[in-house]
Structures are given as structure tokens and as C-alpha cells.
């Protein structure tokens, strides 16, 4: 609650000190009607069922905002809705908050799956597999091992934190290490996303997701 006026003052001061077009002759600008208030965007790192949410904007990039622990999932009006508990960073207060899954982005862990795949055939025994410099020309040949992803490595959630007026869009990535449960939950979320997209039966994937979320971390 106290943060917002401070941020406004900071933005105003910095905008005066460092105008965006200071390098150029600023053109005659016409303020446009604001079509709709933009959502704030934040980044989330998911470990187990907990998402640690941080700022992405330039004001305090990387500053923690809150932690959101997912406890359950349901389909509401054709979308996956999550229920959970939100705890503000540095605070003790918690609140029950619902989040909606907006969309996903698939990211293969290795964009060059050929490089170390089983289908790469060796014409001669390579006792010491040669490895060269990795650059634009050679990255297809010298990438790391193939990893299996879930198919929905980035998740986009929307929720409204109790201390914010506007809903927040959170782009969530998985913590890459020591996160077997998070990976399992992500895979279950992705199965639900696939079922929603294809119109398949949701009962089984949703049940599996809720089963995973109900387990203690």
C-alpha cells in the first residue's frame, strides 16, 4: 500500500532527469487515449508447487513481490483456474488467491536435438568424440544432451494480489535444479492445457494435477 506513491514519485523524478528521447530531438507527440490499463508483468520461478514472483520492470528489477503456493485446480469457464495462498515478500500476511492460466510457451531444453541424439550415426568408432568451438556455424553439432521437456515450459498466469489494484500477468519458468516435484506439476498442468486445446476429457489430467498439488512438499 505504501509502495505505490513512492514509485510514482520515483518515476516522475527519473522521467524528468532522463527523458526517454533525450538523444533525439523529441518529435511533436500527441498523447493518445489509453485503450486499456496495461497489465503489470512479473516473472515467476516455480519450485515444487511454490512460485516466487519478482519484478521485471526497470524500477526495481528482480525485487521479490510475493510467493504463491498452488493448492488446487479446477476448470472454470473453459480455463484452468488455480487456487492457492499468496504471501507478500517480507510480510507475514497471507491471502487466498485464485489465478487463471492464460497460455503457455513450449521450449525444447535443447534446440538442437540432433546433436547428441541416439539417431546420430557414427561412421567410425569415436573413442574421444571431437568437440569444436560453438558458434553460429557449428552450434547444431556441439550442443548439449537432449532433455525431455513438458511441452509447456513457460506458463502465463493472471492473478490479482490483495495489495494491487490491477491484475498481474506472471510468466512462470521452472527452477532448473532439485525440482522434481515442480517438473511433475508442470507436466500435469501441460496435460490439462493439451486437453483444453483438443477438447479431450479433462477428468483424468485434472485429477492427476490435484493429486500432485495435494501432496506435501
Amino acid at each position: 500500500m505504501i509502495v505505490k506513491p513512492r514509485i510514482r514519485i520515483l518515476i516522475a523524478s527519473l522521467a524528468l532527469l532522463f527523458p526517454a528521447a533525450s538523444v533525439a530531438q523529441r518529435p511533436a507527440l500527441k498523447p493518445a487515449r489509453r485503450a486499456k490499463a496495461p497489465l503489470q508483468v512479473a516473472s515467476g520461478l516455480m519450485t515444487g508447487n511454490r512460485i516466487e514472483v519478482r519484478r521485471t520492470d526497470w524500477i526495481r528489477e528482480g525485487a521479490p513481490l510475493f510467493e504463491y503456493a498452488i493448492a488446487g485446480a479446477a476448470i472454470v469457464e473453459g480455463r484452468l483456474e488455480l487456487t492457492g495462498t499468496l504471501r507478500e515478500a517480507g510480510g507475514q500476511q497471507t491471502a487466498a488467491v485464485r489465478a487463471t492460466m492464460l497460455s503457455t510457451t513450449a521450449r525444447s531444453a535443447n534446440p538442437w536435438p540432433s546433436a547428441a541424439s541416439a539417431t546420430a550415426r557414427e561412421r567410425a568408432p569415436a573413442r574421444n568424440q571431437p568437440e569444436g568451438e560453438r558458434n553460429e556455424q557449428t552450434q547444431s553439432l556441439y550442443s548439449g544432451a537432449t532433455e525431455t521437456g513438458s511441452g509447456c515450459e513457460l506458463l502465463y498466469l493472471k492473478l490479482t494480489a490483495p495489495f494491487q489494484r490491477e491484475p498481474l500477468q506472471i510468466g512462470v519458468v521452472l527452477a532448473p535444479r532439485d525440482n522434481a516435484r515442480g517438473i511433475e506439476i508442470n507436466q500435469a498442468l501441460c496435460r490439462v492445457a493439451r486437453a483444453i486445446k483438443t477438447g479431450a476429457d479433462l477428468a483424468e489430467p485434472l485429477g492427476r494435477l490435484n493429486q500432485l498439488l495435494s501432496q506435501k512438499s
Binding site: L29, A32, P38, R107, A115, N128, G132, T138, V173
Partner: protein
């Protein structure tokens, strides 16, 4: 106060935006360039001579931070501790895909755009590419010929500076070249071995690259120094020896006093005049204050990068009559997305050369083998259409030390004394233009400025998969021909679309307004004062790296715009 109306608004300041600004201002037009990202200060931000031990994370970067903020960008080889600042924050700049269909959208938002960290490989297309449909019946021809583009290739090459070796190959026309970089011993051997294969289409040449091998434009304000071969191009070049718009075309435009460059202006959509049906200007969001603004111009050029330009058009009009976006009466906007297909090739060890260390550090270039498939009856392939080129090289990489057996003092001694030669070839294959590979607006997800994000749906098909299998076979046979040992061939699966950063298409040119978005001068069929001159205009992907062609097309479109201004069309 009267609104200022520019002659032209150029969206984007990268390779094509820089060319548009230079061409139009040189012809007397007053130009506003909108750049979504911040202004780069080369004197403070380039770090080409920093050693790993000077970096907090020894050049690799903070992995946790990279994973958290750049989960897509960090998959690119150049997004490391030195240069991650040239890549976007993925969560501020989101896009979505269907589950299980990944696409890597690699982006830079700052003055100069991706021209700061591009691979610099520069190849002309030929009529094998521009008239491909006429040769094999698939897809569509481009609406102009190679001969029509030659003057513009020459104009770009003379200003930019392309080093390379003349080969007189019809499938890869020669450029106006600066002296070529030299082959290594291993690459000479490969060239000779491939010549002995007596395939008239197959040739090993040095990479044609936008890096200066001698100073150019000396005695003029456009003067740039020759490369000093530090090899760290992606960190930014203090001597401006490779082409980046920030050090060549944009300064040239600035000197005319006809260009205004506005950084931190995140273009959202084109503002239309409903009365005339023409564009009035561009709506943007201030990247810092997030205030919404509009600027006005007689002509709007989208040079924001293939997918960003299409996103702006898609966001410029609501869904009407079943189609989404501005300039989309054909319904083709967003469709025919392409990227080169990789994943096929071979690597091995080259015996018979000295294992004493021959200093090759710093040649930011490799070799190139142009397309040799499906060019005539003899090279015709039953399994796939079109073709692929190889990039690679032969050198003594320090990484080879990992393969030396042993341990302790003996291993250290061998590592100092033995520098075996590695040889590698990686294919870049043409991706056929398919309607189903497309982008649209994801109405649920927005970027940090509240602008709806793109949904990208692309996968390679059977043709690319067959081509990649052939890449493995032909790369393997060439390495065998040169006597390489320990050959390992790769035949797929394919690379993930987007990772080669040669994404093109989605607002294609054509001769028929019913099936294309732009005419032969990159002018939108539907809105005559909107032009798209970046990779979005591509009709087919060819297999050559696309930036040189994009710049030549931009120069041609700008000449047309200037002529139309003279004729009073705008």
C-alpha cells in the same frame, strides 16, 4: 499546437530500419525512426576485449538469472555474460505456442536491433530462389527477378562491406567483395578434396561476411576500420568493423539532419485515417513511462523484424470478416512462417596436419558450401525439393583438449603440445512455405507495455526432415573425401524452428492481392502508404542467410517510395 507530420515513420532501427533511414533521408525525406528499446552507448557498453577472469561469472553469466529472465534467449550461443544485454527479457516480451510445438524467437531491443549481434554471413539469392516455383512447381515465385535486385545488392554491399571470394556460381551469385579471409590449412584440404569429387555445383568457399578486411570509405564520414580479428563480434565492435546499423547507416542518416531517432518507443499499432483508408501514423507506448503516444507520417515502413512487424499489423485492426489485422484482405497475413532447418551435418578429426598450435584465434568466419541439390537434372533429388548449404570450418579448437586421454602432468603436457584438427559441416536447409505455419495474436497474454502478444505455431515437415537426412550423408561423404577420421554424422531430428534466427515470411510479397500482403515494392496492397521491408516480406526462405537480401529489398522499396513522393502519391 499543430501535429508534426513526418514524410516517413520507420519502425525499427536494425539492419533494415537503418537502411530505410539512410536511403530516405539521403533522398531528402524527413524521417522518424521508432526504436522499441533503449539507446545503446557503444563507448560504455561494448566489452569486446574483456577476459573471462574479468567477468563475475567468467563469461558464462549468472545461470540462475539467465534461466529466470531469459529462458528462451539463453538458448542462443551468443547470449552469455558479455552479450546478454543485447537480448530481451523473455517475460517482459512474451509470446506463446501450442503445447509441444516450441519456437525460439530470439530478439534484441535497442538501437541497432539484432544488427549488433547477428552472425554477419551475407549471401545473395539467385533465380533458383526467386523463381523456385517455376522450376519445381511448389509455392510461389517472388514478384521480381534476381536481375532486378542486382543494383540494390551492389549498393548495399558497397556501403556495408562484404568480404568473400569470387566463385562464379549461378546458384550463389558473387557480391561486390572486399578481399576474402583466408582458409585454414584444413579448409584448403577440404576445398581440394571436394573439387576432386567432380560435382560442378559443389564448392567450398570462404564465408561471405559483413566484416571489413580492409578499411572502407576512407576520407569520408562513413569511414570504418578493418577488422583486427579479436573474434568477439557479438559483444559489440569498438572499431565498427562489422556491419551494424548503429555504426554505419544510422550515423549516415543522422548526418543529413533529416532523421529523428526515438528510442524507448514500443510500437503498438498503425493509426488509420478512416476517411481516406490510409495510415496516419503509429501508436506507441513509452518504454519507460508507459505513456501512450501517437506520431504521424505520410508513409509508414515496418522494419521491426519479421515477427514484430507482422504483430504490429495484426494488432492494428480487430478481427473483421474472419480475418485479423490490417492489410489482410487476402487472409495471408501471419501465414507462411519459415526458418531454416538445421540438425544435419558431420564432424570429425583431420589427420595429417601439424598438431602444433597454429594461431587461428579471431577469424569470426567459417567456410560455406552453397546449395548443390535440385539445381539441374543431375542434382535432382527424389526425396525432397529445394536444397541446403553448409557452414562450418576446420581448426584447432581449444575444446578438443576435452578429448585428450590421460590425467595429471601427462595430460597437461599433451594439452599444451597436441592441438588436433577438428572439421565440421552444419546444414542450413530451405523451409518450404506452408500456410499452416502461422502466427496470430494471443488475446490473453500481453507484453510489459500492455500490447497483445504473438502466438506462434510452426513445425518443420517431411521435406525438411528428408533434407536433413541428406545433409548427414553428403557432409559425411565430403569429410571422408578429405580423409577425416572419427566422423560422426547428424541426421536429425530437426532443429527447433526459430533457433537459426532466420525467421521470414508472414507478410509475403506477391503478384496477386488475393494471395499476398505486399506488392513487388513491399507496399501493402490494401493500404498504399504502408510498407514492410524486413524478412516478413519473404515468399520463400531459400537456404542462404537472409539479412543481405532484406537490406537490398529495403533499398529498392525506399527508392520506389522516394519516386512516389516526387510523383505526389503521398
Amino acid at each position: 499546437m499543430a501535429q508534426k507530420v513526418y514524410d516517413a515513420i520507420v519502425v525499427g532501427s536494425g539492419a533494415t530500419g537503418g537502411w530505410a533511414a539512410k536511403e530516405l533521408t539521403a533522398r531528402g525525406l524527413e524521417v522518424l525512426v521508432l526504436e522499441a528499446g533503449r539507446k545503446v552507448r557503444p563507448e560504455e557498453e561494448y566489452n569486446m576485449v574483456a577476459w573471462p577472469y574479468e567477468m563475475p561469472f567468467r563469461g558464462f553469466g549468472n545461470r540462475a538469472e539467465l534461466e529466470r529472465t531469459q529462458p528462451i534467449q539463453s538458448r542462443n550461443y551468443a547470449c552469455n555474460e558479455y552479450s546478454r544485454k543485447w537480448f530481451v527479457n523473455d517475460l517482459e516480451n512474451p509470446y506463446t505456442t501450442p503445447p509441444d510445438r516450441p519456437f525460439y524467437w530470439i530478439r534484441g531491443r535497442h538501437t541497432g536491433g539484432r544488427s549488433l549481434q547477428w552472425g554477419r554471413q551475407s549471401y545473395r539469392l539467385s533465380n533458383f530462389d526467386f523463381k523456385a516455383k517455376s522450376l519445381d512447381g511448389y509455392g510461389d515465385d517472388w514478384p521480381f527477378t534476381y536481375e532486378e535486385l542486382i543494383p540494390y545488392y551492389e549498393r548495399v554491399e558497397e556501403f556495408v562491406g562484404i568480404s568473400g571470394r569470387e566463385e562464379k556460381l549461378p546458384q550463389l551469385p558473387d557480391s561486390v567483395f572486399l578481399p576474402p579471409m583466408n582458409f585454414t590449412c584444413g579448409e584448403w584440404k577440404l576445398r581440394q578434396a571436394v573439387d576432386r569429387m567432380r560435382d560442378k555445383w559443389r564448392r567450398v568457399t570462404i564465408g561471405r561476411v559483413a566484416i571489413l578486411t580492409r578499411p572502407i570509405h576512407q576520407g569520408t564520414p562513413d569511414a570504418r576500420a578493418a577488422c583486427h580479428y579479436c573474434g568477439n563480434c557479438e559483444r559489440g565492435c569498438d572499431t565498427n568493423s562489422y556491419y551494424a546499423s548503429i555504426s554505419s547507416t544510422l550515423p549516415a542518416a543522422t548526418r543529413t539532419r533529416k532523421m529523428t531517432l526515438l528510442p524507448n518507443a514500443v510500437a503498438s499499432h498503425i493509426v488509420m485515417d478512416k476517411r481516406t483508408g490510409r495510415a496516419r501514423g503509429v501508436h506507441y507506448v513509452d518504454g519507460v513511462t508507459r505513456a501512450h503516444r501517437e506520431v504521424f507520417g505520410k508513409v509508414v515502413l515496418l522494419c521491426a523484424g519479421t515477427l514484430e512487424s507482422t504483430r504490429i499489423l495484426l494488432n492494428s485492426a480487430p478481427v473483421e470478416g474472419g480475418t485479423e489485422g490490417l492489410c489482410n484482405s487476402s487472409g495471408a497475413l501471419g501465414h507462411y512462417l519459415m526458418d531454416h532447418a538445421g540438425g544435419g551435418g558431420a564432424s570429425g578429426v583431420l589427420p595429417g596436419l601439424t598438431t602444433e598450435y597454429q594461431s587461428q584465434v579471431g577469424r569470426a568466419n567459417g567456410i560455406y558450401i552453397p546449395r548443390f541439390r535440385n539445381l539441374d537434372r543431375a542434382s535432382k533429388q527424389a526425396g525432397f525439393l529445394r536444397g541446403y548449404g553448409f557452414q562450418g570450418g576446420a581448426n584447432q579448437p581449444v575444446q578438443m583438449a576435452k578429448g585428450i586421454p590421460g590425467f595429471g602432468a601427462d595430460l597437461k603436457r599433451k594439452t599444451r603440445e597436441q592441438h588436433p584438427w577438428n572439421i565440421n559441416l552444419g546444414g542450413f536447409g530451405e523451409c518450404l512455405a506452408r500456410w499452416e505455419n502461422h502466427v496470430r495474436i494471443d488475446r490473453d497474454v500481453v507484453d510489459a507495455w500492455g500490447i497483445p502478444a504473438l502466438h506462434i505455431d510452426m513445425a518443420f515437415g517431411d521435406n525438411e526432415r528428408a533434407m536433413i537426412e541428406d545433409m548427414g550423408n553428403t557432409a559425411g561423404e565430403m569429410l571422408e573425401a578429405v580423409g577425416a577420421t572419427e566422423i560422426r554424422i547428424s541426421q536429425g531430428p530437426t532443429s527447433v524452428p526459430g533457433i537459426l534466427i532466420h525467421e521470414v515470411g508472414t507478410a509475403r510479397m506477391g503478384s496477386d492481392p488475393k494471395t499476398s500482403v505486399l506488392n513487388k515494392f513491399n507496399q501493402a496492397w490494401d493500404v498504399g502508404n504502408v510498407f514492410v521491408t524486413d524478412g516478413a516480406c519473404y515468399v520463400s526462405s531459400a537456404n542462404q542467410n537472409p539479412t543481405l537480401t532484406m537490406m537490398a529489398i529495403t533499398a529498392r522499396a525506399c527508392e520506389y517510395i522516394a519516386e512516389e513522393f516526387k510523383a505526389g502519391s503521398f
